[in-house]
């Protein structure tokens, strides 16, 4: 949890309102990647930004409780596996790496639809990997364990008095 001095009702409330919309927008960016600007990387970064916003507004504990760093690293590997697995599936069915047209018999759809679905699968994998990698970096760089001394110093009582309300 954040110490009392860093808590801010306005920022917490606005984050609570905004974060679902940020995440839906990230899913829109991922899903629309193949015919509008965006894609897996951009959507994954927006998802990680939503997690960073929770981290900034509410502190480390609520974020880590929802997505532990170990689970994040596992999901990062799963994302890379989805990406590479889609490519290898094309390779195994006789095409080049990421040659989505070869997925048409497997998925049971026409070739243009198979291309669209193949790109979609790759983007889901990239989005998952990017989100969790960014999240791991944020936790490693800005987590509480990174600088315990500084947090303890800035919330000490002397510092509180210095920053009290100025004389009117």
């Amino acid at each position: 949890m954040l110490t009392k001095i860093y808590e801010n009702l306005i920022v917490k409330t606005i984050c609570r309102i905004m974060i679902p919309f940020i995440q839906i927008y990230a899913l829109y960016v991922i899903a629309h990647g193949h015919y509008s600007p965006g894609g897996g990387f951009q959507g994954g970064v927006i998802l990680a930004a939503a997690l960073a916003l929770i981290f900034l507004a509410y502190g480390q504990e609520p974020v880590v409780r929802r997505l532990t760093p170990n689970l994040a690293l596992s999901l990062c590997g799963i994302g890379v596996f989805i990406y590479a697995g889609t490519g290898l599936l094309c390779l195994l069915s006789g095409g080049n790496f990421l040659d989505y047209a070869r997925l048409a018999p497997i998925l049971g759809v026409a070739i243009p639809r198979a291309r669209s679905l193949g790109i979609f699968g790759v983007e889901i994998g990239v989005g998952l990997a990017v989100m969790t990698a960014m999240y791991s970096i944020i936790i490693d760089v800005a987590g509480n364990s990174a600088s315990p001394d500084r947090h303890a110093a800035s919330s000490s009582p002397e510092n509180l008095n210095n920053n009290a309300e100025p004389a009117a």
Binding site: Y6, N8, V11, I14, I17, F21, N162, N163
Partner: protein, 123 residues
């Protein structure tokens, strides 16, 4: 002599284009003034006062101009969402930065910085 009514009747500009031009020029004016404030004001709080308010209004005006240009369709609905979220997020960010600066002990700029607070009140 070219007047507004000539422009409308000539068909060169539709009325929504004229609204878009007026709104976007207004937005550019507020961007200009807030940038001057950012460059010329003395300390963090007054600079944030200029940019936090000016940029929010300027972005709203420019997005409104783009909505007027597009008319009523899906693109203008997306632009309306951009306007709503900037209207919520920009003041919140300004508030958070100013509060963090205040909590870090950055002193506001004062005209006679060498005087004590009590002496300044006496003047």
């Amino acid at each position: 002599m070219l007047t507004l009514s000539h422009l409308i009747s000539a068909g060169d500009f539709a009325i929504n284009d004229i609204c878009a031009i007026v709104l976007i020029i207004g937005g550019l004016f507020f961007f200009f003034t807030s940038t001057i404030g950012l460059l010329r004001f003395p300390d963090l709080y007054s600079r944030m006062h200029a940019t936090g308010k000016g940029d929010t209004l300027a972005v709203l005006l420019i997005v409104s101009g783009a909505i007027c240009h597009h008319g009523v369709n899906l693109n203008s609905a997306k632009l309306l969402l951009i306007a709503i979220f900037i209207f919520i997020a920009n003041p919140t960010g300004t508030h958070a930065i100013a509060r963090a600066a205040y909590r870090c002990g950055i002193k506001p700029w004062l005209k006679n910085a060498d005087l004590k607070a009590e002496e300044r009140i006496d003047q």
